[in-house]
Symmetry: D2
């Protein structure tokens, strides 16, 4: 986490409260029953997310830095610790859905209590600024923003398995286009570049230190692969040709009988349907293909005679583009067709061909916060650019997201690249 220059502590308090409010707004369409569900081991119940991000503030801010703070919620430290071994034991992830208690109402009480204490802490920091503590509040805010995206992913997963086809939000807007503009290629000369975070502004420890990388000349597509393009891959038998796939990907796709992206369904009458946070919809051929694994992205790229970009290649390009796009803030909560001049940030996280590994000279944060990112640097792939479920002020060109290559429930898609 880079040092965070905070011009005025009151704005941090405002940002804290606004961020907290967003999480709760996200849950406002939910019934109590919806808060409780964990439809797959890698997802978590919405209730758990709301409590965990609160636990994060309590654990990393209130307990160490707020004099006299004493939790009124015994047992929550174990239930809502996600994976911090240095803090203590934690409830097994895949059993989070078995926890009927605390009730949703109790979780909101927990949030209120922590918010109240956090506001008092902010008051104190206003009088006596402390960069170290402030940087942890900043971390907590970004942490909660990450969980807002996870809430979108997990709510979608939970709604998707229900044969009654419930709709999370029936009022989501859509952008209609008549045609998809052809890909334009951003060409980049071979050179020694710098990547990584060096401020100003917040960055996670895993984006540091900024460092040099040599890149041969390459090009990157200015928009994501569309559903229409992906349907060509399907029609060409892409899911049945071992030669297009990584060995592990082929084995996984056979074992799970993959024949299309997650959340698709073939309807006799209506053709391809796609499950969205706005309900089941006819597949929009101009929108980017969504919820494909790294294995599928990599196979598609091979079939298309291209490849995926590396994370360095993509960062170098993204750093040249304005930080705008279809983010959570736009309110679509689903990827939309690219604008004629392309789509760089937002819509969908782009799978890169880079394994998630430490940068040269990487140092995790001191203390328990060091478990935030560093211990996951194995077996996962990097994704870049943010999605329609990412807050715009949470994003930057150097941001490194990461998932296992078989995972499909994130808002992730495909962007092509090639050598020049």
């Amino acid at each position: 986490m880079a040092a965070t220059p905070l011009t005025a502590e009151w704005s941090l308090r405002q940002r804290y409260l606004a961020t907290r409010q967003v999480s709760e707004s996200l849950c406002s369409p939910l019934l109590i029953e919806d808060y409780q569900t964990q439809s797959c081991p890698e997802a978590s119940p919405p209730k758990w997310h709301l409590a965990h991000v609160t636990w994060f503030f309590e654990t990393f801010l209130l307990k160490p830095y707020h004099d006299g703070y004493c939790t009124q919620f015994p047992g929550f430290d174990r239930l809502f610790n996600s994976y911090y071994e240095s803090i203590g034991k934690f409830h097994p992830r895949e059993q989070r859905g078995h926890l009927a208690r605390p009730a949703v109402e109790e979780v909101y009480r927990y949030r209120r209590a922590v918010d109240h204490a956090m506001e008092a802490l902010c008051d104190r920091l206003e009088r006596t600024p402390d960069d170290h503590v402030l940087s942890f509040i900043e971390l907590g805010i970004h942490h909660e923003q990450q969980h807002q995206e996870l809430l979108c992913m997990d709510i979608k997963a939970n709604f998707s398995v229900n044969p009654l086809k419930p709709v999370y939000r029936g009022d989501l807007p859509r952008r209609q286009v008549a045609a998809t503009a052809p890909v334009q290629w951003h060409e980049q000369a071979g050179d020694l570049y710098e990547i990584g975070h060096a401020g100003p502004g917040f960055g996670y420890d895993n984006e540091c230190p900024r460092h040099r990388v040599y890149l041969p000349p390459y090009r990157v597509a200015n928009r994501l692969v569309t559903n229409a393009e992906y349907l060509e891959f399907i029609a060409a038998g892409g899911y049945g040709q071992a030669g297009l796939w990584l060995s592990d990907g082929w084995a996984h796709s056979r074992r799970h009988d993959w024949r299309h992206p997650l959340y698709w369904e073939r309807d006799e009458a209506d053709g391809w349907l796609e499950m969205t946070l706005g309900g089941w919809r006819a597949l929009d051929l101009h929108a980017p293909v969504c919820h494909v694994s790294y294995y599928e992205a990599e196979a598609f790229a091979r079939w298309a005679g291209q490849r995926l970009p590396t994370e360095a290649e993509l960062e170098v390009v993204l750093a040249q583009k304005p930080l705008c796009g279809n983010f959570f803030d736009q309110g679509f909560l689903h990827p939309q067709p690219a604008a004629p001049d392309g789509q760089w940030f937002g819509d969908l996280w782009t799978w890169t061909g880079s394994a998630y590994l430490p940068y040269p000279g990487f140092r995790p944060l001191a203390g328990s916060a060091g478990e935030y990112n560093g211990k996951f640097m194995c077996n996962q792939m990097v994704l870049r650019g943010g999605s329609c479920a990412t807050s715009q002020n949470h994003m930057r060109a150097s941001y490194r997201n990461f998932f296992y290559p078989h995972e499909r429930w994130p808002f992730c898609g495909i962007r092509l690249a090639a050598d020049l």
Copy 2:
């Protein structure tokens, strides 16, 4: 299902309504969140139970016999069909906990709608009795009573996994005794006996036909094995001696590291604690040992130099005893110490040494109801006598309950027997 003489149709309607009411009373201490949880694959969420028993009446009574009935709840036929292959596809059992919808409120609406139609059907039957239809109402009532016991079991399981140790009902009574009376043995001469159901009153198809069995002379204990007696088995190293166990039981107990019954916990300060529907309590040494598997029951009996009774042996004895004991109706919802003159019915289902198999001449019910019992006649063991979670008017000497030999979440215990 034996023919059921119904003296007056209004009493059936009353029994219908009273039974329906009991299920809802059972759920009245629950929060919405509690209705939703499935903490292990073999249990079901309380919400699912409430809907499934309703589906049973809708499917077996309203759809075939109530003119013009048209369900207002599309999709429920698939969600709430438990396992009736001849009726259609059903949602996988282990995924019942993933179904946030229908909401609890919607399930209660479903119940109201079905109750309303059932009352109309009862009206019609009052005017035009139809033994066949009446016998299915009787079946549906007993079916719902079975699920009331499952509700007790599953609520207990769900509450047990929560580290916050929530309490289902804090007001449950207990019977305190100063000592356990020594076992008295009921001795039975060897002879040709008849067992099975032949009326009057209701009986499941699996209790029929009544038939002759030859039994050598034997004796059966007049009460269940107590916690104190089971602690002796533990202290003697019973869980560590392969020679006491069936081969499959030994393998299972090693794989799951069993060292005591389900729901027990050893507390440094307070000794053995036991989780009950009234919360965690110090183990009552005089109460019967509960939540042991067939494997444990069988090993205990071998260690004690005795054996388990067969189902025929037990039925012959139970048929001589008054049908009373610690049932659901008594409101303890936990096994209680035996009265000085013993305990025959209620408290805990007694594991027998009999595999669950068809009686000679067994014929399953015609139609889909034939799947109720018959298709489970393999790999399970018979239990007899009812428990503290069984309604008294649901019980009889010929009643055959059945579970897999490794299962421990039913209210089941140990009763010893021996050859004479």
Copy 3:
């Protein structure tokens, strides 16, 4: 194990040597490589069988009763103990195929050494008879005969998985018939019968004590179900109709995608082929259907409007029949079409509808030999009558074989029965 009258100890020695010789003859067509293979967890490598039966004599006879006996094969006690917990630790069953050593030659040396000592023990018993020791030699002989049948089963399993389709013995005879005689029903009046072993001659502990059972009137088919009859079941969609199956059987058959008996293969040109110890053959429509599980047997019987016999029903009938049939001794090593007057013993073990449970008054053998049979009395089904891989002098009407209901690699088949 019943008391065994031995008229002359030299004959026991002769029987010992002859039995030992049969095991080795069975292996004579094998290459060293064939001795080593374990193609599924429930089978054992032939080498292991040869050593284990030798270990049995060493452990139960030589070590306790042969003065000064000292094994020259350290480590074998652990490798070749099958499952006797009271004797010590044993190598995991599913890893027997990983044991390249001892070499086959070494195992034969082991056999020679134990045979040599056993002959000396027999010499001593000739001078000083000891019924207890003699009865254990008898047990060891029967034990080795059981493993001869297992050798046939396991060799068949091992050869079956090899795409090169190797043949165990190319010279096996076959009995050709032009037609299958219709089933004749043996009818038996309802009565109180006695079943179980009471001598004379050898019997396992699980066949004792002889005891009374009441049987209602019934009938049993005089021959096994044929391949032609089973093909009708397949053609009628038997493998696809849930309603014909036990619930556990349906789940198992779906999970493993069963569509026909084990060892069958559908050839485009040649129709149904069947793998036998004599190689792959066109399916003989007149021969009994073989290698079906209890689940399949039970479903077939239901489809045919009949049922499987209970073990008591079958024993009562078998006790009236001459002890002859297609046994191991006949040298077919495969079930053959029934003779016009039926087939009662041999050919294939008949699945019964009886769970494998202790008889009333059952007492296992004292000491470690008590683990031979008793601890398996759960979750398995009884089979009766012997097979083409069973030695004739190993068989009797009271013999109880047992396997899990999903197992198909034994030589087992279907015999129908019905109530009268």
Copy 4:
């Protein structure tokens, strides 16, 4: 595969024959039984290796390029195809140990037949050189050398699981030293370097193309971590401290209860023992720690305050060192203590912190040979430098080996590095 300059075709034939001979020498201490065993899914039976490398020559050389070649071994194409989807179906890897046939003798006949034809092909190439075909012979030779190392690994694995503790070769030499020299650090300045294969000589496709990488200044240890050093990690509780481990590594090590490297055993009397191809030996404190996973290597490095080198860092240093060390050719078949001036090549493959991914501009070989390396570029880590089981003429600085991060049966060890 880079172009391979071949000065004279007779030398290639000689190298072919010599390589073939080495594989057979490696198996000469084996009994027939040893050829057959597959003690874990990722290992293969020695017999299978001998046949598979032969299949490789038959498939990639004889069938396409040797006129009139017709295999005399039908069925072997399926049995001995390892994973080439474009060639056809193949026998499941984890079932290779179930294949008793072809017999070992038959496999040697297969080798003779293929060798005979390959010699004829070499004759023809002598008269009419063809660089493309020659390069495939070169590939086949290197392929067989890789399998020689796998033979060492798999024979070791197979012998290790046998409680009789058989010894593969009792005559292996050992190098004894009195002390371990302290680590010397090779320091390397930060700069733009070139890595990858560009000839002369053979290289796999995955080493190409040679390309530029920027490296910050760093240092690498001149020898591997020793057993003594690793014992300090164990003594310090390294296996019990979550904070030292990657998250996936911690989960894996807990699930498999790792407490020390593979093939170690703690003996009450003799202390730590280590299983080697020369049998069980007291652990040599001065020798490098062997058979640790990437997870353990990475945790050790963190504990030691260092890190693992990247593959680029290591290649840059190795390219400066003489290509000598403790290789297969030296005949130890076990890692030996470092010489006073260090150890760079040989002894043990060094785990690097680099994921196995394509180099920029990577193109797999055309045709089925393209499946050799490229499809495995996911989820694995790169190892460098060769081992005591690698032939010296198979090694080079640019060589990229790869295994999954949990795998421990390769001859792999730990080399430390750090930033400068």
